[in-house]
């Protein structure tokens, strides 16, 4: 017991600057109040809105013209749309990991980053859902994916991993939204009680549901939060498992392997933490949140990235070993082609970004150097995009029959829609930063030393 106490005093405080309850409220709420003080916000918002508009226009053209405008060819039927889908879903997973798994492990440092990580999850999953939605080609029959009674008297095939995916990602999105909203209720009540205008008071008051912070409410609230964390943990693991089943269940060399579920989950957490890092560094800089998102938080996240990066690197090695050890010539050939074939440039980009770059985090100096971790987080996300590209495209471009081999080249529409998806993401993310508390106010208060009822006295 005393050893733990000693350890706790050695750790840096979770929130620096000796804040009071009132100063925490003030500091976080004021970002959503009054006129937007930050001109940079407007620049970013208009740029994001422009990209979103571009994405919308390109998607309309895609619906009009068909998926032929993409670089898909005969062996490569899954191109950037699937790569982008897996990438965006993976990014979302860090939000759930932070809000659910770290909550179950009583990692109190999560309170400063969980709110915006959860927001990131929701917006990333929205971006992800766009891609399979438009990839089906005839978007007007997208409802065929759902088990709805229809005039054709047909039902979807529940043995297909693609249908599992509809349920997995659909459930993930719904549960993430519910979890996020439950977490927001006490903070929406804070904004309600601080608001001066009538409209503002009405809107925040409406969504705060009449929260009054009574312990009889907190009791059920905390229980609900704990249960949501408990069920989100297997959920987040299952979602990327099911995403990996889209590949693993098909009999394609390089895809048909049992390592895929854990490998995909580790990669998802890896890229998600990198995205939290990128967004967190920007948010703490422009909103001066250095007291809340401290170097201790960033350092801990870097450790998680080092761990998951090593897991991913291990999976890359393991794939090669299994391919060689299996004695299956197709399996062996696809991996030799990955590393030394026409897509070698993509493969080595992936290895550099995902395996080499995070090794710097063995050193404390690198873990606490903000410019370096910012660059590393972006490189890691580039690397993780290339990982999905390597998996999806190399296996398809060179499959069993050399006569059908082809090389995949993206068109301007592939690139435009992918770049546009950042517009979708950042439009929502910037609106979130402007109108909702970016840091969980009530949770941060709960980890302050004076929140302990036995603080400073002999009770």
């Amino acid at each position: 017991m005393s050893a733990i106490k000693e350890l706790n005093t050695q750790l840096e405080p979770l929130v620096t600057g000796n804040p009071t309850f009132a100063s925490v409220t003030q500091r976080i709420s004021e970002l959503t109040e009054g006129k937007q003080p930050n001109k940079g916000w407007w620049v970013c918002f208009l740029a994001a809105l422009g990209l979103l508009f571009m994405m919308k226009t390109l998607i309309l053209y895609l619906i009009w013209e068909g998926t032929g405008i993409w670089g898909l060819n005969n062996p490569v039927g899954w191109g950037w749309a699937i790569v982008n889908f897996v990438w965006w879903v993976g990014i979302g997973h860090a939000g759930t990991l932070i809000s659910a798994i770290l909550f179950l492990f009583r990692q109190k440092w999560r309170t400063s980053i969980n709110r915006f990580a959860e927001a990131m999850t929701i917006f990333a999953v929205m971006c992800a859902l766009v891609f399979p939605g438009i990839h089906i080609g005839r978007v007007w029959v997208a409802y065929w994916m759902f088990p709805l009674p229809n005039q054709m008297q047909m039902w979807p095939n529940f043995r297909s991993p693609l249908l599992w995916d509809v349920f997995a990602v659909g459930t993930y999105f719904t549960v993430s939204c519910l979890f996020w909203f439950v977490g927001l209720i006490p903070d929406l009540a804070t904004l309600r009680d601080r608001s001066t205008g009538k409209i503002r008071r009405f809107i925040y008051g409406f969504f705060a549901f009449g929260w009054r912070g009574g312990n009889r409410q907190w009791q059920h609230y905390e229980k609900a939060y704990l249960i949501l964390a408990g069920i989100s943990t297997p959920l987040v693991l299952s979602v990327h498992t099911v995403v990996s089943f889209d590949f693993a269940v098909s009999i394609v060399p390089g895809w048909h392997t049992t390592i895929f579920p854990p490998y995909f989950v580790a990669g998802a957490v890896f890229s998600g933490f990198a995205m939290v890092m990128t967004l967190g560094i920007i948010a703490r800089k422009i909103y001066h949140l250095e007291d809340f998102i401290t170097l201790r938080h960033l350092e801990t996240m870097n450790k998680v990235m080092l761990l998951t990066g090593m897991l991913v690197g291990y999976a890359y090695g393991c794939e090669f070993f299994v391919a060689a050890y299996s004695g299956n010539i197709y399996e062996t050939a696809i991996f030799i082609n990955r590393a030394f074939g026409p897509y070698a440039w993509a493969y080595w980009t992936m290895i550099f970004c995902n395996v080499v770059v995070p090794q710097a985090f063995w050193w404390k100096k690198a873990r606490r150097c903000i410019p370096w971790m910012f660059v590393a987080s972006i490189l890691i996300n580039i690397g993780m995009w290339f990982e999905r590209f390597v998996i999806t495209v190399t296996s398809l471009a060179q499959d069993y029959l050399p006569s059908s081999w082809d090389y995949f080249r993206p068109t301007i529409f592939d690139i435009g829609i992918f770049v546009g998806s950042f517009g979708l993401f950042f439009t929502f993310f910037l609106l979130f930063l402007r109108f909702l508390p970016a840091i969980a106010i009530s949770e941060v208060k709960g980890v302050l030393p004076q929140a302990n009822p036995h603080h400073g006295g002999e009770h």
């Binding site: 088990p147 008297q153 601080r194 912070g213 009574g214 009791q219 059920h220 229980k223 249960i227 036995h454």
Partner: protein, 194 residues
């Protein structure tokens, strides 16, 4: 019942104070006060704080939340309903032979059943919590107080409702004062205030 009807404005509430509100200095004093109220025998009281306070459930001697049972039922409904749907669709209404698998292929049906279990549990947890907490509820005597806005900032309050058998307009505020309450006020609707 009358209480609910009053709260949504369908029934005119009886005249007089709806309760009493007292402010406390911080989590520690609030915890001590809540314990004293429980020991004194009050039942319709609540301790309000900007964040959940560790140990408050014991101090108020609240029974454990029954939300877990609601979630369990909802999860069973989700998972069971999912399996039933898959069986009806694939084995009864639209049986199609796919790679020679049986119509009811349980291993392949697990992922969807699992996801629907989680979905059911999540709905159970969120809407069950709303039901236990009687949310949304936009009207409550504590909101009559102008000071109560501090509750989501740095205020710590105890409220006792007038429906409590031990409630008395004169004695209860005095008692709250004796256990360290400050800014004690009787909760009157806005139109009854002087």
């Amino acid at each position: 019942m009358d209480y609910l009807l009053e709260s949504i404005g369908l029934k005119k509430p009886h005249a007089g104070a709806k309760g009493v509100l007292a402010e406390f200095d911080g989590p520690g004093p609030l915890l001590a006060a809540a314990r004293k109220l429980h020991e004194r025998g009050f039942t319709r009281y609540d301790s309000h704080s900007p964040f959940p306070i560790h140990g408050m459930d014991d101090a108020m001697a609240l029974p454990p939340s029954r939300l877990g049972w609601v979630v369990f039922l909802a999860a069973c409904l989700g998972g069971g309903g999912g399996l039933l749907l898959e069986w009806f669709v694939s084995a009864v209404d639209y049986p199609v032979i796919i790679s020679g698998k049986p119509f009811f292929s349980l291993p392949a049906f697990i992922p969807v059943a699992f996801e629907l279990t989680i979905l059911g549990a999540a709905f159970g947890a969120v809407f069950g919590m709303f039901a236990f907490n009687q949310l949304p509820r936009f009207h409550h005597p504590v909101f009559y107080s102008d000071r109560f806005g501090k509750i989501t900032d740095d205020g710590f309050f105890i409220s006792i409702e007038s429906s409590d058998p031990l409630f008395s307009v004169t004695n209860t505020p005095e008692y709250l004062n004796s256990i360290g309450g400050k800014n004690i006020e009787l909760l009157h609707p806005d139109d009854e205030k002087e």
